[in-house]
Structures are given as structure tokens and as C-alpha cells.
Symmetry: C2
Subunit: 371 residues, 2 copies
């Protein structure tokens, strides 16, 4: 027996067009170790946007096709095509994670039929997904699909920050922008585990929201006292590590300069090469895809690097990863709860207004696809 | 008995003036383990310029004092004063390294009297230096002071690059700008040791000069084919590590993007997070003190950091450092020979034209102070 599914696909064509459409696919019966899942909820994470929209100019989106089978197209600037070389004319499924109900299973997995599971592994913007059982996390009986939709990317990233901090000998960290779903999880983890965390937000409302969650150090980049407040929070926590999802602009540079200013306060004499305090900045997202600008007022004892969940998980002890997953399952409705501002169907995703809104990357605007 | 010396001193005053002058000091007799050296040659390295001139506006230099005791002054822009806080109104001696003849020694070091030594440790722009014998390297009989003046900073930096490469599991590296005295040493080391080295230079003349020294891979950033040439050289050497003394601008960004483009050639499918090939860029100088600009087209598997000789030497096994020093002494007139374009006295250093020329940081213009 085979199973019909509809998958949202993203293609960048050789003639520089982005094409988004729903493609009917036929999935085989699950084999040993496999599950067939009817997808009920999948979040649109910032990490999905690159594959979904590429560098297309979404202000020029056009809708075509039919009401049942809509097609969205948009031009890709010629200058951005070189970086797309490896995906040209490939119809790519999208969606890093999601949750749904198991409707068929391999002969060794039949006890999971009817069970709701959370999943990671791509191609989640679809009606159905054939998946290895080891990439699925069975949810507690009665768990809502929405509560299980985002239990991998953000929760494991937040816990991964803590593991990176410990592995590299830091004792506190700075996070920007901190009001995201991920940022809220990090606030709860650090609150519960007694870890110093400096949260950089972009408005007074976001600051109040994080304080309500139990954040101790919140600094607002929209205020005149931002740099002084940041230095003070770094001095109070001893943070020498930062995680920046913005990427473009000066965020990491500002954080490292503040760390250096704090370190310089305890130097007993001038050193033209800066302090010996080692400062590590990680860029883990690209909400701003523009260039990162480093004003190197932070001496020579620093590193800035990329941080990617999949690579980091591979570096960790498997027992640590297993403990992280167990904590996520245990605290799925508390520490790792996500909030959504809009819910759309697969077909609704393919409207110009929805697509543009998803791509806006505003903290606090979060889409959930319900196929 | 005591000894008269003249030291070149740099002061940044609270009213935002740079002041350079020769200050008479009295040095005590050397104690146990110490040497008193009459300095005969000291190079002006790029790493000396920050302490010497700070952020002063050298276009507004003014000469005062007398012919025997000249004083140079220049205004420091107000915006640059905050970073100078730790050195305000301190009269700071300058000069990282030099060579001279031992004229007095502690009771346990008398066999070195009359011997020429190379030294590191600051305050070398002076007529005399009291120094710990362990910071001095006795030169072979008959060695010229000029040949021993620059046996620490550049030689140990070039050898340090190789040690960093080995310690971090890279097998080849990129260096920019490669035509400096340091770059020439690195060419000779890599030629002799069979290490892949991609040299980035800024003119055809520099490219020819490095090829004459035995460089295999030289790419000229002034040509239209620079990016393609860089990719090809990286592909041929397998370089995943770079050292950048420019700091400001896009040098390291261009190198890492070229490494990523090479890595992407061997990827069998598109990955929106980039290749898994780890790329490390080090910034070890600031010939351009402007911001570093990172166009992050190189995925998430990268780090960029500061590289400072003194910190790196402390991380190495002392036996490795001893072997580096021994090699420098052995090959001082070959691998580690420096070339100078101008020789000036201490007093001549304090003329506006000389100061500006020293600060120009042009590859190929290299000053030696002969007190």
C-alpha cells in the first residue's frame, strides 16, 4: 500500500525565479524502523527561511496556479544566483521540524500507531512524512500537536548554548535578540539552573516580558544607556561568551567591546594589545544577512565563529544529547513551550502576504503551519 | 656605579596631545642575571606603531624642543581618547626588540661582556637597556647588530604560524599581506619545510619578489583575476587556515569565502548551512585599524580570532619555543634576514617627515633605528 502526500516545495530555477508550490508525492509503506506520520503542526523557524525563500525579492511575489494548487513566484537578483548554484532547478522540500500522529508503522514499530510524535529532519511542510523512528520523539498521551511541533530546533539550541558554555569554561553568556521563543527558553533554563545570562532585547515591552519570565539581566538596545547597561550586566555576570542570531551589523562587535571594557577595568597597567581575557562570540543565525562589522577594540584575545545545532550535537557526548532530549520531553509544556501569533494551512502559506509576513523575522511574530 | 641612557618616550596627555621626546634616565648597575646593553639597532615593526603614535593625527605633527632634545606633538581626536584611558599622562618607553653590545653584566653573567646580543622586551628605542639575560640571545661572534635587531617578533611569529597550523590540524595556510619581512620569512620556512602557503600580495613587483624567494602560490589582489586565482591556489594547497595582518576591511572575509567556494565544489548536494569544512582565520595585525567586514557566505563552520605572539608563545610547550629560538639563531642570516629601507638615529626619529613615513605601513618600507 502507498500513501498520498502533498509537500511544499521550493525551487530556484536557472532563469532566476523562486517557485513555491504544493507537489503531490506518493510515500511507500513504512519499512522496519520507520513511521508514517500525518503532520498536524510545523513551525516556521528563522532557520527554515533560507531554504524556503532563498535570496528572492519577496516584494515582487506573484501568485499563480489555482486555489487548490497555488504557485508563488518571485525573482532572484542575478548577483545572488552564484551562491544558489548547488540548488538550481532542484525541487526542495522544506520544514525542519513538526509534530503529528503515526498512522502506519514498520513491523517493529506498530506499538506507536495512533501515537503523537515530535519530529526533526526536514520536509515537514507536508501532509505526511515517512521518518525513521529514531528521529521521532513520542509525546505523552494527550499532548497537543501544537505543543510538540517545536521540540527540537529551539530547545536543543538553547540547551546546546549551555553545553558549549560549560565545555569551553565560560560561566555566563550574552544572548541577542533574547525575546524570541528560543530566547524565552534560554531565560527559563538559566533561571532554573542558576546560570548568568545577559538578555539583549529591542524594546521596553520585550524587556518586561523577559523579566516576567524570571530574567535578571535585560538590556534594551533601543535606549540611550544601552552600552553602559550592557557593560554593567556583563560585569555583574562575568559573561565572556555570546550568541548572536542577527549576524549582520555590529551586534557581536558591540558585545565583545563591552566585555573588553569590563576586563580592562581590572588591568593594572596599559597594554596596547588589550586584555588577556578571552572573549568568544558565536553567530548562530542570520536574521540580518548583511555583513558582520567588527570594530576591533577588544584586543587580540577573542574568537568569533559560526554555531550550528547539527554540527554541535555531533560534537557532544551521545549521553549528553540523550539527557537534553529527555529534559525537553519532560519540560515540553513549561521550559520549552512555544507561542505562535498565526496559524496557516499549507495552501495559505502560498499567498504573497503570508509569505512576506513569515519572512519579516520580527521577534514575536511566529507562524505555525497546520497542514 | 650607574649608567646614563636616553629613552624615546611616548605620552598621551589628558588634554589629548601625543608627545614624543627623548628622556634622560639613569640605569643602575646590572644585578645577578642582568645585562646592561648599549643598543645599536632596533627595527620599527608594525606592532610598535600603536604604542609609538597611538591614534594621533600625524598630519598635524609639530616639532619643538631643541636640535639635541627635539619634541614632537600631535593632536589626538577626542573620539579616540576613551580607548587611551589606561595610558593617559604615562611616559611610555617604546620598541619591542633590538640588538646591541653588552657593556656591563651581573656577577654571574660577566662572560657576556663585550658580546653582541639580540633582545626582546620593550624600551629598545634607547641608547641603553638593562635586561634579564634570559630575554637576550647571544649572537655568533662577528654578527652585525643590524642582522640581530629583528630576531624575535617576525621570526617567532612566522614560526608560530606553523606551530598553530600543526596544533589545529591544518595542513596549509594563506597569508596576507605576504611581501612583508615577516611574509618573506614565512615563504622561506614553508619552502624549506614543504608546507603549502598561499601568498596574497598587492602588486606584480611583490609577486615576482616572492617567487624569486621560492614561493609557489602567489596571488595579486590588484588584478581582476584575484578571486579566481585565490580559489585555485586554495584548491591546490588545501589551505583552511589564514593569517591576516591588515585586519580592517574584507581580507579575511574574502579568504574564507574562497575556502568555502573550494569546499563547496566537492559537496554532493546543496546544504543551506554551507560546507562542513572548518575554516579558521586569524587577524594578527591592524595595518588597517578600520572595522573588519565579514560577508558570511562561508556557512557556519568557521572561526575568526585574534593571534598575538606573546599569548601564543605561552600556550606552546617550552621545548617547542626553545627549538624555535634555536632555529632563529641558526638561520639568522638566511631564513630570518630582514631588509631595511632607511636607517635613522633616535633624534632623527623625532622629525615630522620621518614619523609620518614610519607610520605609513607600506610593505617594503622598513625603518631601523640606530641610536
Amino acid at each position: 500500500m502507498s500513501h498520498d502526500s502533498l509537500e511544499l516545495r521550493s525551487t530556484i530555477t536557472a532563469d532566476a525565479q523562486l517557485r513555491l508550490e504544493l507537489v503531490p508525492v506518493t510515500l511507500p509503506d513504512p519499512g522496519p524502523g520507520q513511521l508514517l506520520v500525518r503532520i498536524e503542526a510545523a513551525p516556521v523557524n528563522p532557520s527554515d527561511l533560507g531554504l524556503l525563500f532563498g535570496p528572492a525579492d519577496l516584494s515582487a511575489l506573484e501568485q499563480g496556479g489555482t486555489a487548490e494548487a497555488p504557485v508563488l513566484t518571485a525573482p532572484v537578483p542575478q548577483g545572488a544566483m552564484a551562491a544558489m548554484r548547488a540548488r538550481i532547478d532542484q525541487s526542495m522540500p522544506v520544514g525542519n521540524e513538526g509534530a503529528g500522529t503515526v498512522i502506519a508503522a514498520g513491523p517493529d514499530q506498530t506499538d506507536l500507531i495512533g501515537r503523537r510524535v515530535a519530529m526533526m529532519g526536514g520536509a515537514m511542510y507536508a501532509t505526511h512524512r515517512l521518518i525513521d523512528a529514531r528521529d521521532a520523539l513520542p509525546l505523552p498521551e494527550g499532548a497537543e500537536a501544537e505543543a510538540g511541533a517545536a521540540l527540537f530546533v529551539n530547545p536543543l539550541t538553547a540547551l546546546g548554548f549551555v553545553e558549549t558554555m560549560r565545555a569551553q569554561g565560560h560561566t555566563a553568556m550574552v544572548h541577542a535578540p533574547a525575546a524570541s521563543n528560543l530566547g524565552q527558553m534560554l531565560v527559563r533554563i538559566c533561571r532554573d539552573d542558576g546560570i548568568g545570562l545577559v538578555n539583549i532585547v529591542r524594546s521596553a515591552e520585550q524587556a518586561a516580558m523577559l523579566r516576567d519570565l524570571g530574567a535578571t539581566h535585560v538590556v534594551d538596545s533601543s535606549t540611550d544607556s544601552f552600552r553602559a547597561d550592557l557593560e554593567q550586566a556583563i560585569a555583574e555576570t562575568g559573561a565572556t561568551l555570546s550568541f548572536d542570531a542577527i549576524g549582520g551589523g555590529e551586534t557581536t562587535s558591540i558585545i565583545l567591546n563591552a566585555m573588553e571594557a569590563v576586563a580592562a577595568r581590572s588591568m593594572d597597567r596599559y597594554d596596547r594589545y588589550g586584555s588577556g581575557t578571552f572573549k568568544q562570540g558565536y553567530i548562530y543565525g542570520a536574521l540580518d544577512t548583511g555583513p558582520s562589522v567588527l570594530r576591533r577594540g577588544f584586543g587580540f584575545s577573542w574568537q568569533i565563529g559560526g554555531w550550528l545545532l547539527f554540527q554541535q550535537l555531533q560534537r557532544l557526548d551521545p549521553a549528553v544529547v540523550e539527557a537534553m532530549r529527555a529534559r525537553v520531553a519532560r519540560e515540553m509544556t513549561t521550559t520549552f513551550a512555544s507561542a505562535y501569533t498565526a496559524r496557516v494551512s499549507l495552501a495559505e502559506t502560498l499567498s504573497p502576504d503570508t509569505a512576506r509576513a513569515m519572512n519579516r523575522k520580527a521577534t514575536g511574530a511566529k507562524y505555525l503551519i497546520r497542514p
